[in-house]
């Protein structure tokens, strides 16, 4: 019986494919000469593109290249200065978010618009509840929600509350919300940034399904591997201009990178030096049976000058290990030894006093005072040391800032401007600057390159290696497999709060890490 259903489903997909191939060249969305200026700055410069039914069209470019401006214009959130948008044959010179929705444009932003305390089905119908008189018709809403998810090929309990779902499922709820509006064009902004590799596969299944149903998907991402996996065509934007559109099959990763940054990028990851000498290296950090609500019985050592990778799925406890070491979370049992000495770390201040720095995953929420000046953000960790008695010494602070700006080549016109004015990459550098000015020698990096562009990523990688060369020790958590494989000396893999394996980088492969991460031993 079950087999039958599966077969039926396959047939329907194949039939869909045929339908699609017939209509393949139908453009559902055409933009012409789309331009946006803010004052004197050009955010988008006469960009013309077309999107076809049933294609996944990647939009790539560095931060500030114009991707988000373009997608926001299509979604009606930003109105164009010049140019037209044609949706389904209807030409418009500007449109509102409501119009865009009515014309079948759906957008899933990086930040979700979901109500955590409400169940999935109510989130799908927020503002358009199905009612029987004045009462909410719960049963019909649940039924309709289940239908949508079935169409997407996702099994989910629609009565679960959003707060009990993983990030990946929240995203699927957002997609379902867009589909419920009969979207024919779906814009996904960095959809894989918050989710793990395993969940990416689930998302891709959904995307393939939607594509088969003739929905055009605009896929914005920094991760080139994914684009090759899921997309049909790629459009590259650079400095507000449209550079090139091509089929995925006709291009390479190297070409894309050079198109995006406008120059050849010799090498994405820095070259490794000689292999790490484990016998000769001093242990700087040692955990023994560290346990709290999120992590269980964690024991490992970090050597001086080592980059240790922590791999695993989101929610496996990688972030939580870093937070426990740093003192950001409560530790219920276990011991931490720093430089061979047993240390009591109860609050972040204790972590810092022990020379530990945490560069958090979510820089906007945990790393930066977004609306305070760049300068104040960079010196907040050492501001007390820059004081004579109680008063801040201007000359000392200025010297410190000059050093930081030089060290990280942070681009900024004025240090008194708020950090929110900077691009993602430069914001991350401000977080780095904040910690590099301290005397810390153990750096805990949580997703150090999340949401930043290719050029800035490479700078961060180079920086990690520079720190390593200086004898600093690092633990790096990353969901990007290439980072884990190319940056680290040794990899610890986690599954559900426990360590499931340890690999030297020479032995590590994506498959091995994934096997360990899903809880199976090798």
């Amino acid at each position: 019986m079950r087999y039958c259903k599966k077969a039926q489903y396959r047939i329907s997909i194949i039939m869909n494919w045929q339908v699609i191939s017939m209509k393949e060249n139908q453009d559902i969305l055409i933009i012409e000469n789309l331009t946006k200026t803010y004052g004197t700055t050009l955010a988008l410069d006469h960009v013309s593109l077309s999107f076809r039914k049933g294609e996944v069209h990647a939009l790539i470019g560095e931060n500030g290249a114009g991707k988000s401006t373009l997608s926001k214009m299509i979604a009606g959130a930003v109105s164009p200065t010049e140019g037209t948008i044609t949706i389904n044959g209807k030409q418009l010179s500007s449109l509102t978010p409501v119009q865009a929705k009515e014309l079948g444009i759906g957008m899933v932003y990086q930040e979700f618009n979901l109500v955590a305390e409400l169940p999935v089905y109510e989130n799908l119908f927020v503002g358009k509840e199905i009612r029987k008189g004045v009462f909410i018709d719960r049963r019909t809403m649940i039924k309709k929600s289940e239908e949508i998810f079935r169409e997407m090929g996702v099994s989910i309990d629609c009565t679960k509350k959003i707060k009990d779902l993983s990030v990946a499922y929240c995203q699927l709820v957002e997609i379902a919300k867009a589909l419920l509006e009969n979207s024919q064009v779906l814009i996904l902004d960095e959809p894989t940034a918050p989710i793990t590799n395993k969940e990416v596969e689930l998302l891709f299944q959904v995307i393939r399904k939607l594509k088969a149903e003739g929905i055009a998907i605009i896929y914005i991402s920094h991760r080139l591997e994914e684009i090759f996996q899921i997309c049909d065509r790629i459009s590259v934007l650079r400095d507000a201009k449209h550079i090139k559109t091509m089929a995925v099959s006709e291009t390479t990763r190297e070409e894309l990178i050079s198109l995006m940054i406008g120059r050849e990028l010799s090498q994405e990851f820095p070259l490794r030096g000689k292999d790490f000498d484990y016998e000769g290296a001093k242990t700087v950090l040692k955990l023994e049976h560290l346990t709290n609500k999120y992590i269980k019985d964690i024991s490992f050592e970090l050597k001086q000058g080592e980059i240790l990778g922590l791999a695993g799925l989101v929610g496996a406890g990688r972030t939580e290990i870093l937070r426990a070491i740093f003192g950001a979370d409560h530790v219920s049992a276990g011991e931490i030894f720093v430089h061979g000495k047993k240390s009591v770390i109860r609050k972040p201040g204790d972590g810092i006093a022990n020379g530990i720095a945490l560069i958090p995953e979510d820089r906007k929420r945990e790393g930066l005072m977004l609306f305070l000046p760049i300068a104040h953000n960079m010196t907040i960790t050492i501001i007390k040391k820059l004081c004579k008695f109680l008063l801040i010494s201007r000359s000392r602070e200025k010297k410190q800032l000059d050093d930081s700006v030089k060290l990280l080549s942070i681009k900024n016109s004025s240090l008194s401007k708020p950090v929110s004015d900077l691009s993602g990459g430069n914001q991350q550098k401000v977080v780095l600057a904040k910690w590099l000015s301290t005397t810390c020698d153990i750096f805990l990096f949580d997703e150090p390159t999340r949401g930043i562009d290719v050029g800035a990523k490479k700078e961060i990688y180079d920086f990690l290696f520079k720190l390593k060369a200086e004898g600093k020790s690092m633990i790096v958590v990353s969901s990007e497999m290439s980072e884990i494989l190319n940056l680290t000396d040794r990899i610890l893999v986690m599954h559900e709060g426990k360590l499931t394996g340890e690999l030297r980088y020479q032995d590590a492969t994506q498959e091995k890490i994934l096997t360990l991460a899903s809880g199976f031993g090798i």
Binding site: Y38, L368, L370, I380, I383
Partner: protein, 321 residues
């Protein structure tokens, strides 16, 4: 697009000079409308009146900067005035000791509000609302509701006297407090941390700042300066009165918000709050001189407060978008 840059310019102009313009317009208005307004005597009266709000507003600014609020300042003002009066008249405590004890108890109230807010995680609006009632109760218990008179002339000097026969004594304290507030907030690491906690509490905690300590500290400052204002007020009135602080928190809050301090925390300059205090003080004085009845004054003050908050929100919205 042009509209956007335009509104940004207006917002930044307002942030820089807006309240000065409001102050000047206000002064001009009252100067024209009531002939007695621009007299030396009246200006002294106003500045003396402004001192009480202004002194408390320095503390309120700090509390608002960390993203909290303190509505118990009026109760503390009444309490500290009454306690010092009771100590001096009924227990024969010397002036300096009475003042110190009153300030110490006021500060203790700040410690309680701060601790309950920062450690107990009770919203500060609720904490200080409760404290307001509790402190009011303490004040009435202490005085039985009647005014405590019979204060010495030396004590009254604190509220009524002049320094060098020229500057009203409370104004001296006001200036001192603002200088101190400015130094703490802008020139010390403590000030940086106050702004940081208000800018992003979690990021501050992860930067090694004791956010609990900072939050408690701001409540302590607020209670302390309210205590000072209370003593000066009792000296000014010549008696300790339990009813004196009602509505005081509104004026203090309005002064701070007019001065550009955001209720969301992390943004504001204490020197502008001084200008804000004058705007409020002159408004109160001018309305009295115009013969506006008190009930209308309440309505007007309430409207000014709400408008100040709305304008402050609009400025922030334009700034951050």
């Amino acid at each position: 697009m042009n509209k956007k840059t335009h509104s940004k310019q207006i917002a930044s102009f307002y942030e820089k000079y807006g309240i000065l313009v409001i102050l000047l317009v206000e002064i001009a208005f009252f100067a024209v409308k009531c002939p007695n307004f621009m007299t030396v005597d009246n200006l002294f009266l106003v500045s003396r009146q402004v001192s009480f709000y202004g002194i408390a507003a320095v503390g309120m600014t700090m509390v608002l900067l960390v993203g909290e609020i303190d509505i118990s300042v009026g109760s503390i003002l009444a309490f500290s005035g009454c306690l010092s009066a009771v100590l001096m008249t009924k227990c024969n405590v010397p002036i300096w000791a009475a003042c110190l004890i009153a300030l110490a108890v006021s500060t203790l109230f700040g410690v309680i509000s701060g601790t309950v807010t920062a450690i107990g995680k009770v919203p500060s609006l609720i904490t200080t609302l409760a404290m307001q009632t509790i402190i009011k109760g303490c004040t009435y218990l202490m005085t039985g509701g009647s005014a405590i008179s019979g204060l010495s002339d030396r004590f009254k000097f604190l509220g009524q006297g002049f320094l060098a026969d020229l500057i009203p004594f409370p104004v001296v304290i006001l200036i001192l407090m603002f200088i101190l507030g400015y130094l703490i907030l802008n020139k010390t690491y403590i000030g940086r941390r106050i702004y940081a906690v208000g800018g992003n509490k979690e990021a501050s905690r992860l930067s090694g700042i004791s956010t609990v300590g900072i939050v408690i500290g701001t409540f302590v400052c607020s209670a302390f300066v309210s205590g000072i204002a209370g003593i000066l007020m009792a000296a000014r009135l010549g008696s300790g009165m339990s009813s004196v602080g009602s509505g005081f928190e509104m004026e203090v809050l309005t002064a701070a918000v007019l001065g550009g301090v955001s209720l969301q925390g992390g943004k504001g300059n204490v020197l502008n709050v001084l200008v804000g205090s004058f705007i409020i003080g002159i408004l109160a004085n001018g309305l009295v001189m115009l013969g506006v009845i008190e009930y209308w004054q309440w309505i007007i003050k309430g409207l000014v407060f709400v408008c100040a908050v709305i304008v402050s929100n609009i400025v922030i919205f334009i700034d951050r978008n």
